[in-house]
Each structure stands twice: as C-alpha cells, then as structure tokens.
C-alpha cells in the first residue's frame, strides 16, 4: 500500500500530457467561429476515428495483421454489425458481440 515517487512521477507526467490534448481544443475552439470547411472536416472525425478503432481491433488485434482465414473476431463482427443495424441499440450490439465470439470460440 504505497506510492513510490518514481511511479507517481510517471503517472503524473502521463496524466498531464493526456489532459492537455483532451481539454485544449474544446476550451479554445468553442470560443471561436470556425470556417465552414473546418466544421465539415470535424463532422467526419467521429466516423473516421470509430472506423479506425474498429479496423484496428478486428484486423490487427495484437498490433500485427491477423490472418483473414483464422480470425474469429472478424467473423463475430458480422452478426454484431447486423444486430447494430437492426436494433440500433448500443447495449444490444455489445451483447451480440460477446455472445457471438463466445459461441465461435466454443465451436472452433
């Protein structure tokens, strides 16, 4: 039950460099009127960042490209996408994903 100085400095330092990019844009950009093209660019950021995260999770789970034929996560993503489109429920989608991968891992 202790906090070592060396660990505290690492935690504090990494917290600080994470905090700054989190707060700087929202604090500054919400005060200025952005040009139309910038707003349009920003409107695509949610789609782009979520798709990039999905792609990374499914195609390169351990930082390396997973073989397409031996990728249960990628197969489990199909019913997960389907349930997301049908139900449009976030919780439903998460549960569908968990059940899909569980079944696939049990079978294969």
């Amino acid at each position: 039950m202790e906090v070592r100085w060396s660990i505290f400095l690492i935690i504090f330092g990494s917290a600080l460099v994470t905090f700054i990019p989190r707060v700087l844009p929202i604090a500054i950009l919400s005060r200025v009127e952005l040009p139309e093209w910038a707003m349009r660019w920003l409107s695509y950021v949610p789609i782009a960042v979520m798709a990039a995260l999905v792609g990374q999770e499914l195609l390169m789970p351990n930082g390396k490209l997973a073989p397409l034929t031996d990728n249960l996560e990628l197969i489990a993503a199909l019913p997960t996408f389907l349930i997301a489109i049908i139900t449009r429920s976030l919780l439903g989608t998460v549960l569908a994903g968990i059940i899909s991968i569980m079944v696939l891992r049990f079978v294969f």
């Binding site: 990494s14 604090a27 500054i28 349009r40 960042v49 979520m50 792609g55 976030l90 994903g97």
Partner: protein
Amino acid sequence: MMNISENTILREESSFLAGVRDCLPTVLGYLSIGFAAGVVEKTAGLSIVEIGLISLLLYAGSGQFIAAAMIGANSPALAIIFTIFFINLRHLLMSAAISPYFRHLTPFKNVLIGSLLTDETFGVAMNEAASKKMLSEKWMHGLNITAYLNWFLANLAGAFFGEWISDPEKFGLDFALPGMFIGLLVLQMFSRRKWMKDVLVALSAVAIVVGVSLVTSGSVGVIVATIIASTIGMAVEKWK
C-alpha cells in the same frame, strides 16, 4: 399544454440522470477493459493505491496498458510519458470535433468536460449531438462521471480479483470493446444518414489505419487514419 409537455421532455433528456442512463450501454465494455487493465497493472508491480491513482489521473485504457507494460520493463520515465502522449493524442481530434456543441459554456466548464473525454463517451455524445445544435452540460457530466467511476472500480476490481479469473477470454468479455466501437460507428451513421460518404470515410479509415499501423504504430495509425479519412469526407462533400 403542448409547450409544457415538450419542456418536461427536454428537461429530462438533458438531465444528469439521462447522461447516466445513456452511459449504461458502455459500462460492460469499460468494465471488462478496466478489469483487464487492473490485472496488467498489478502484474507490472503497481500497488493498489498506484492503480487507483493511474486510473483516476491518466484515465485512458490504451495508455494504462502501455504504462503498465513499460513500467514492468523498467523503461525510463520520460520514454513512458512520451509514448503515452502519442497514444492519447487522438483526443485532440475528438475534443475539437465535440467543441461546437459546447459553445454555450465557459472555457473553464469546457475544461471539466474535456478532461473526462474518452473514445466511448465521445461516441455516445456525438450520437446524442446528431439531432441537436448543442449538448447539455449536466447530461455530459452524467455520462462522463458514470464512465469515470465505472473505470476506477473496474481497475480496482482487476487489481483485487485478477488472479482468480484464469481465462476471461472464454466468456467473450474481451469482445465488449470492439462490439462497442461497432455499435457506436453504426449508430453514428444512422443518425447522420450520409450513407455513401460515411461508408467511404469508414472504409478509408480502416484501410489507412492498417497500412500506417504496420509501418509505424497503432496509435499513430489511428491519428493518421482519422486525419486523412476526414479530409476525404470533407473533399467529397465539397465536390458534390
């Protein structure tokens, strides 16, 4: 009469509790990843108090995994901080994208909101924002604080009980995270209804993230993919 009932609905939809409720679907994903983070941090030799501190101060899944791995490997402090800076730099883009919906707040209040921004709360907030000109401060706090506490508790649970659970993958809990990103992506598309452009942007982002991650690192991949794919979306919309 119409006005009264509409106002009640508006008030309820933008309350703190509504934010808590809208966070619930992400709880499972946070719980499993936070639990895993707690296990990894414990294995890396962090004490319970240190694990509590890192989850409250750093509050970032991928950053905490890397921190644990590098602390375990006795990496120098500056190298760890620098790596985490890059891994978490994508928040810069999300913070910018969410900023138009908080124009009605002071910079200080926006600092409070931004400090708890994560991939998941950003996704939920942008879905909520699709039909709105601005987001409610109380709703956002409800969403953020629920996610924050859940993350803290999950980390501690992982640190305490990690050794008793031998194989969490058997229960498919590790898929809660990609499942959540899939849900957030699809919901985002449904709320925008710019199908062709959004699918194009999404597919570009996937292709770029794989390509760039292979030659650099995963965190650089996400940033580069977001910048280029958003630019593609902006350009295509301009030409049409």
